[in-house]
């Protein structure tokens, strides 16, 4: 892949077209359960709005989360025809990448799409396959799109592994994981459980990373009880701000679970959780490791060394973590635009980049902006 601008977004959101599922899932078999867009009435609006519906459950919130792609920045489209082609059509989306001078972007989901928990495993995997096939088409249009596969959490591990292998063949370059699958799916195992070893083994063998995005499904758990006195914007600000609470806990969790020692070439990527907190969490892990002599408890490698061997974090607005980059690991830092979400640096990503990287020598700049990502995703 040609690097023209020297900037790769490790966290953007790929919206699927509104017929992505209806055109791929059997109408005879799934009928009205298939994810699609329908017209509904909402009290707040004096016109019929459109919403996604999955398994006959209307997905509250907007029909597409793309406020930075709108002419009126910050506006959330209420009807599908308002959604810009540059958000869900891969050919047109390349224009947005060019406008922002970004070479490539890693595609996390834009709802619905990360997970499909609607009661039964058979329906889940049918949705997952449709999602993975549709998102893979972005990569088939251009290698500048780096899609991440959804996985069928409710299936046996052999089925999960088989779907990941299938998705990777179709063009996916990693999987999107939950911070604690046992919280989301009754009876599912947490990340330290040997249940997942075949998946870790397969991903290590194929060479694709495990990705956790923002709260990684733990937003409702690692938070104080919601206060009803906040307006929507305030509540959004508070919940977005605390999302990195997940990564600060999952990183020590993975380190102390021994999973990194067991799968020493498996990469873990934490998206949209920033950098500035990382060195203090690593210092805390090292501090505890020393004080409690945890090498005698099977954690043979120093936690910060494990992190630098196998973990990645990213930034988009900040300067704190850039100042601390050498305590985090200059080879472990990626950049993200978060297009087309509200916090996104689009379409002025380079302004944000220069703000964050003022005074950083070019060798480090290049690593942070594209070389680390190119290595991680094996872009030739």
């Amino acid at each position: 892949m040609e690097i023209k601008h020297g900037l790769i977004s490790s966290d953007s959101h790929g919206q699927l077209c509104k017929d992505a599922y209806t055109s791929r899932m059997s109408g005879a078999k799934w009928g009205d359960r298939i994810p699609r867009v329908i017209e509904v009435r909402e009290e707040k609006f004096d016109f019929p709005v459109e919403r996604w519906i999955v398994n006959n459950e209307i997905q509250r919130g907007n029909v597409c989360n793309c406020p930075t792609a709108m002419g009126n920045r910050g506006y959330y489209p209420q009807r599908w025809e308002e959604v810009p082609l540059e958000v869900y059509d891969p050919v047109n989306r390349l224009k947005a990448l060019d406008r922002d001078r970004v070479d490539a972007e890693v595609l996390f989901p834009n709802g619905p799409g990360g997970t499909f928990f609607y009661g039964d495993a058979e329906f889940e995997i049918a949705c997952v396959k449709a999602y993975n096939d549709a998102l893979a088409e972005f990569h088939q249009v251009s290698e500048r799109f780096i899609p991440l596969a959804a996985i069928p959490f409710m299936s046996p591990i052999e089925t999960i592994v088989a779907e990941v292998e299938r998705a990777v063949k179709a063009g996916h370059n990693g999987i999107n994981m939950l911070g604690d699958p046992s919280v989301a799916v009754k009876g599912q195992k947490n990340l330290s459980d040997p249940f997942w070893y075949p998946l870790w083994d397969a991903c290590q063998y194929i060479g694709v990373g495990i990705h956790l995005h923002a709260s990684a499904g733990l937003a409702g758990k690692l938070a104080l009880p919601q206060w009803k006195g906040y307006t929507r914007r305030q509540a959004h600000c508070v919940s977005t701000l605390r999302n990195f609470c997940t990564a600060t806990q999952i990183i020590p969790y993975l380190i102390f679970s021994g999973v990194l020692d067991r799968f020493p070439r498996l990469n873990w990527v934490f998206a949209e959780t920033g950098l500035g907190w990382v060195s203090s969490v690593l210092e805390a892990c090292d501090n505890e490791w020393e004080r409690r002599r945890l090498w005698t408890e099977g954690i043979s490698t120093r936690p910060s060394a494990l992190f630098r061997r196998q973990m990645y974090v990213d930034f988009w607005f900040e300067t704190v973590g850039i100042e601390l980059r050498e305590f985090i690991g200059v080879d472990n830092i990626l950049w993200e635009s978060d297009f087309p979400h509200i916090t996104s640096t689009y379409p002025n990503s380079w302004v944000a980049v220069e703000h964050s990287l003022a005074g950083v020598p070019s060798e480090h700049r290049e690593k942070l902006l594209f070389r680390n990502a190119a290595r991680l995703y094996r872009l030739s």
């Binding site: 206060w227 305030q234 609470c245 409690r292």
Partner: protein
């Protein structure tokens, strides 16, 4: 104030000894509900509080080589953790002038008695702790800075105890950051808590949220972790769980409404706070909160009224300006496993090596001296 070492440790813990409550609460009235230590059939001791069983707290014998061992029976507990004279010696050994005290059995964040369903029992337990801390610690030496715990609800009781305790000499108020998780009380952002903020602001004592008050926002260690690994994990998770507490508090509007209120995030550590403050400024802009009555940036609000307390941090000191050197306090965290005791001075010498003398003084004692009126 009298400074020999130039260090006020703002986050240390006393361990309540078995007679704290039994000698101050009448058996006639409270019977077995008085907090007390009981020997179990397996030979280990545990605390019994209002009928609930609580294992002996993880008090490390700070300074021991192997900190994964901790006492199972009361007689194994070292005196430095519950006896004032011994504690003074431990402070001298570590170069600490003053020590700001938090509880242990009463909850690292003062949460234990808030879970009791009998408000009278809650008040009696709280008062006994507060009295003990004055009688056996503060009265023994002015180098101890006592902070009171309070009944979490109703506010009349909370405020009455704050006034009583401060009159007796307490210099700070410990309150669990998420009382609504302890029992059925309103969300902490509700204006019904205003008397609490007002009392602290008016009396000029800081309100202290110690990390760990909300177990719900801390991931549980995996059942596959060995006990020392699980303990290490809990220790790390406790401080970062305050991320959610700070996120809420920066936008709850309490700080706007009580500009004289000072808030300490105890056992927070530093690095994630610098990031969260920078992020809060960025995200409140992105979400357009200026238009919703947030006249100050989160960083301005924080620097006007909030404090972080740190103990192991070295690298993150480089980014102290995001919080403000005037808003950072230092501690030994004695006698928790994570404590820097007895090598706090060496750790400080390394961590503060490149920091200008003026800022170093602020963080090591001046900020604390101002906050606690030493």
């Amino acid at each position: 104030m009298d400074l020999k070492y130039g260090f006020v440790s703002v986050d240390d813990h006393v361990l309540e000894h078995p007679e704290v409550w039994t000698s101050r609460m009448t058996r006639q009235r409270w019977g077995d509900r008085i907090p007390h230590v009981e020997r179990q059939p397996d030979g280990n001791d545990c605390w019994m509080i209002g009928g609930h069983r609580l294992a002996l707290p993880e008090i490390a014998v700070a300074g021991e080589k192997n900190r994964s061992l901790h006492p199972k029976r009361w007689e194994e507990v070292p005196k430095t953790v519950y006896s004032a004279p011994e504690r003074l010696a431990a402070m001298d050994a570590d170069g600490v002038d003053y020590s700001v005290l938090y509880p242990t059995v009463a909850g690292l964040a003062g949460e234990t008695f808030g879970k009791l369903d009998d408000p009278d029992l809650e008040s009696a337990c709280v008062q006994a702790y507060n009295d003990w801390l004055i009688e056996e610690w503060a009265n023994r030496s002015s180098r101890f800075v006592p902070q009171c715990i309070v009944p979490i609800w109703p506010m009349e009781r909370t405020v009455a105890e704050i006034k009583r305790a401060v009159a007796k000499g307490h210099k700070g108020v410990i309150y669990p950051a998420s009382p609504m998780e302890l029992r059925d009380v309103p969300h902490i952002n509700e204006p019904v808590y205003d008397p609490l903020w007002a009392a602290c602001a008016d009396l000029g004592v800081p309100l202290c949220f110690h990390a760990g008050a909300s177990p719900r926002i801390q991931l549980q260690p995996s059942e596959t972790f060995s006990p020392p690994v699980a303990d290490a994990f809990r220790g790390i998770i406790r401080s970062v769980s305050s991320i959610a507490v700070l996120a809420n508090f920066l936008f709850s509007r309490v700080l706007y409404r009580f500009p004289k209120l000072k808030v300490v995030f105890a056992e927070s550590s530093l690095g994630w706070g610098a990031y969260e403050i920078e992020y809060a400024d960025y995200q409140s802009d992105a979400d357009g909160l200026q238009s919703e009555g947030y006249p100050l940036k989160p960083s301005e609000l924080f620097q006007r009224q909030c404090y972080f307390s740190c103990w192991y941090d070295q690298n993150s000191l480089r980014v102290r300006r995001y919080l403000g050197a005037a808003n950072i306090l230092w501690a030994t965290n004695f006698p928790l496993v994570t404590s820097s005791w007895p090598n706090s001075r060496q750790k400080i010498d390394v961590g503060f090596a490149d920091i200008p003398e003026g800022e170093k003084r602020q963080m090591l004692w001046q900020n604390a001296a101002g906050l606690y009126g030493l």
